[in-house]
């Protein structure tokens, strides 16, 4: 007697095949809360500035959280989770540019989710940013200035930050009172959060 074979093509699936995003997993594990995720979204959007269109903030954020979840990045004791993930996002950006410089010689595709011991290798290529990267940086700086165009104090602070000045040095060079400086920072923070919460892909 022949063994009956099930018609697998029409059988309902026994398991839920929906893909759980790393952000959802991190939330379920109480590694972050909803507000933290929104902070991280805004931070990912900041660090994705100036990267090519195929490298989205969304991918960077999920990749950073994946590295936390799989344990490839271990959070040092006492470092808040948001600050820790922000650091990973920063290093993803730096890694991208490092690999882009190296790949520019052999035209490899550069991705953000390659994690290996590359960052420990000695890079022999020219570490100086090429003209393209410099142009992109200038365009991004212009876009940032545009974002704060109606706030001259914020623009002064941004100029100071770009020069690597401390808060005290910025206040001294711009002759801002502590209160005015803090008010401007608060306005800037509000603008950055608003910009970060919107749902455009980049």
């Amino acid at each position: 007697m022949p063994t009956p074979t099930p018609d697998t093509a029409h059988m309902p699936s026994l398991v839920d095949k929906r893909v759980i995003r790393p952000a959802q997993t991190a939330l379920a594990l109480d590694l972050v809360n909803e507000m933290d995720l929104l902070r991280l979204k805004a931070i990912a959007r900041v660090y994705a500035r100036g990267l090519p269109p195929e490298v989205t903030w969304e991918d960077m954020l999920q990749e950073a959280l994946t590295r936390v979840l799989v344990g490839s990045r271990l959070r040092p004791e006492g470092v808040p989770m948001v600050a820790f993930v922000a650091g990973i996002l920063r290093s993803l950006r730096a890694d991208y540019w490092r690999r882009a410089i190296r790949a520019s010689g052999n035209h490899d595709t550069v991705r953000i989710d390659h994690e290996n011991a590359e960052s420990l290798e000695v890079v022999m290529s020219d570490p100086a940013p090429g003209p393209e990267r410099a142009l992109v940086a200038l365009q991004e700086l212009a876009a940032i200035r545009e974002l704060f165009a109606t706030d001259p104090t914020a623009l002064q602070i941004i100029d100071g930050l770009g020069q690597g000045l401390s808060a005290e040095q910025i206040r001294r060079s711009t002759r801002l009172s502590k209160t005015d400086y803090e008010s401007a920072r608060k306005r800037m923070r509000r603008t950055l959060i608003r910009e970060g919460l919107t749902c455009e892909p980049r």
């Binding site: 093509a9 029409h10 699936s13 095949k17 995003r21 952000a23 959802q24 939330l27 909803e34 507000m35 995720l37 929104l38 902070r39 991280l40 979204k41 805004a42 931070i43 900041v46 660090y47 500035r49 100036g50 989205t56 903030w57 969304e58 954020l61 808040p80 948001v82 600050a83 922000a86 996002l89 920063r90 100086a128 940013p129 003209p131 990267r133 410099a134 940086a137 200038l138 991004e140 700086l141 940032i144 941004i158 930050l161 770009g162 020069q163 690597g164 920072r185 608060k186 800037m188 923070r189 509000r190 950055l192 959060i193 608003r194 970060g196 919460l197 919107t198 749902c199 455009e200 892909p201």
Partner: protein
């Protein structure tokens, strides 16, 4: 030589500004985030657009609406391959 110094400076300047912005966002309070969301008309519920790209994809995907495996099973297969 002058040009080179200038090009390096633009990237360094951008990185410094981005780092400062990221730090501001790390320090942002829950109240500031809620206020910004309210300004944008977001209610911060689970499926709020604020979470687009975070807990769900910012761009809808075909799989969000259709069971792709079931669809694939119903498509005629190429007998040559």
């Amino acid at each position: 030589m002058r040009t080179k110094v200038k090009t390096i400076a633009s990237e360094v300047r951008l990185t410094r500004v981005l780092d400062a912005f990221a730090q501001e966002l790390v320090d942002a309070s829950d109240e500031e985030i809620s206020a910004a969301a309210t300004d944008l008309g977001m209610d911060l519920q689970k499926w709020s657009s604020a979470f687009a790209g975070v807990t769900y994809p910012s761009r809808p995907q075909l799989g969000d609406f259709f069971d792709l495996e079931a669809l694939q099973a119903r498509l005629p297969t190429d007998k040559k391959s």
